[in-house]
């Protein structure tokens, strides 16, 4: 099977009229992770949002070549194969973790059965909280619930914005293991992080954003 590939060509992004970085070129293939580096305000979140299609680049292009591409008439789009964990957890305070994850997985086109959601939450040490309103969880617990999507999805492309924020040491180790497994299985992960995330044997490339 072909490997998926994420190509970024001469990409310039900005907030409003002002360019944050210019001329970014990189090509990632399945089996590679990439860490986005740059100081505060360099455009790390902007890059991830642009890759996900939430923002239009000022110039340049993003090409997604899917491993599943069947023929030219039936392209598999980046959106179909994406798991995006943003800065916010995307959890509604009045819904339980199970309900939230159920909807989130349906939204990204990969519905999963509720028992599997409960199992995954249990693996992440959230068993007792699975049916409590999400609003009553601590910041770290919410983050873990939000990250549970990574255990439920089979999307080849992951875009993770500060996935380890508010996580304790054990949860961070779990996250690293999951990310490494995903990349080792031929997936791509692009992430930003302030904490050190040790992805063991997996190649991690750097995307350096220099302000212009």
């Amino acid at each position: 099977m072909k490997r998926p590939r994420l190509g970024i060509r001469n990409l310039s992004c900005g907030r409003g009229e002002k360019a944050l970085f210019q001329g970014l070129d990189i090509s990632l293939v399945g089996g590679e992770a990439a860490r986005v580096l740059g100081e505060n305000g360099a455009g790390k979140t902007t890059l991830l949002r642009t890759l996900g299609g939430l923002q239009t680049p000022l110039s340049g292009e993003i090409v997604w070549e899917s491993a599943q591409k069947r023929d030219a008439d039936d392209p598999v789009l980046l959106k179909d194969e994406l798991c995006f964990v943003g800065h916010d957890n995307a959890l509604n305070a009045a819904l339980t973790p199970v309900e939230n994850l159920d909807v989130l997985m349906r939204l990204c086109g990969r519905p999963v059965a509720q028992p599997r959601i409960r199992e995954t939450l249990a693996e992440l040490g959230l068993k007792r909280l699975a049916h409590r309103p999400s609003g009553r969880l601590s910041a770290g617990q919410k983050r873990r619930v939000s990250l549970a999507r990574l255990w439920l999805t089979d999307a080849p492309l992951w875009l993770l914005d500060e996935p380890a924020s508010a996580l304790d040491v054990d949860s961070r180790a779990l996250l690293c293991a999951r990310m490494a497994a995903h990349v080792a299985a031929g997936g791509i992960a692009v992430f930003t992080t302030h904490e050190t995330l040790n992805l063991a044997d997996v190649p991690v490339r750097s995307i350096e954003l220099t302000p212009c």
Binding site: R15, G16, E17, K18, T56
Partner: protein, 244 residues
């Protein structure tokens, strides 16, 4: 298409918009003055309305512009949304205050004309009511533009709002018309509309055309200021002012 591409270039637009604005201003003002002169001086007195009908030489062109302006905004808005053309975004934002002021003018002059004709300043007549709602549509676009901080998002939001608005304009007009025939009935004195004499009609057409050209001029004028503000940090703007 090449022409369009070149025109889409902002420095080019900034350079040529000035002569184009003047090229619109001169015939626009001349035509408007000629039309108004013809209406005020040459046109014979209307046998029903007396000299008050001379207000129409302002009112009718303004009312025409209010619709023309909103439609042009919506077309530019659609272009801005589909092709992300920056100049189209700027047009929407720049045309809104001009269109709003002519809509206001149409309302005020309509009301002043109505006082001697209907005996009251305001009548919930179908056309006046539609015009009032059109003014609110304009004010909505202006208010939205002022409220959103990022100029880009503000302009795109205004573009969408004007497209939504223009779909509603005929519906609003139809509904107001429907409501008017239902409740107002024949209580409002309406004058018969005999065919206008050429001496009356001709200046009116000239004034309307002149106002339309002036609308283009004033909007271009506004666009230049808008463009400069949005591009104030760009290299070409700095170059324009360091060369000067």
């Amino acid at each position: 298409m090449l022409w369009l591409h070149r025109f889409g270039s902002l420095p080019y637009f900034y350079r040529v918009s000035r002569p184009i604005a003047l090229a619109l201003a001169v015939p626009g003002v001349l035509l408007a003055v000629y039309g108004v002169y013809g209406g005020l001086v040459n046109a014979p007195v209307d046998y029903q309305q007396g000299d008050a009908f001379r207000i129409l030489y302002i009112h009718v062109p303004s009312a025409w512009l209010s619709l023309f302006g909103y439609t042009s905004m919506a077309i530019a808005g659609a272009v801005a949304l589909v092709w992300r053309l920056k100049l189209a975004e700027i047009f929407v934002v720049a045309a809104a205050p001009v269109g709003a002021s002519f809509t206001f003018l149409a309302l005020v002059t309509g009301s002043i004309w109505g006082k001697p004709m209907w005996g009251t300043w305001w009548v919930w007549d179908a056309r006046l009511t539609s015009e009032l709602i059109l003014l609110f549509l304009y004010l909505g676009v202006i208010a939205l533009h002022n409220a959103i901080e990022s100029p880009r998002s503000a302009a795109r939001a205004c573009a969408l709002l004007s497209v939504v608005g223009v779909i509603n304009v005929p519906i609003i007009h139809f509904s107001v018309e429907w409501w008017n025939t239902l409740h107002q009935g024949p209580t409002v004195t309406r004058f018969g509309r005999p065919a206008m004499e050429m001496a009356m009609l001709w200046p009116l057409l000239c004034a309307a055309l002149g106002f339309t050209l002036m609308f283009g001029w004033l909007t271009l004028w506004n666009m230049r200021a808008q463009l400069l503000w949005r591009e104030r940090r760009s290299r070409w703007v700095k170059k324009v002012f360091s060369d000067a």
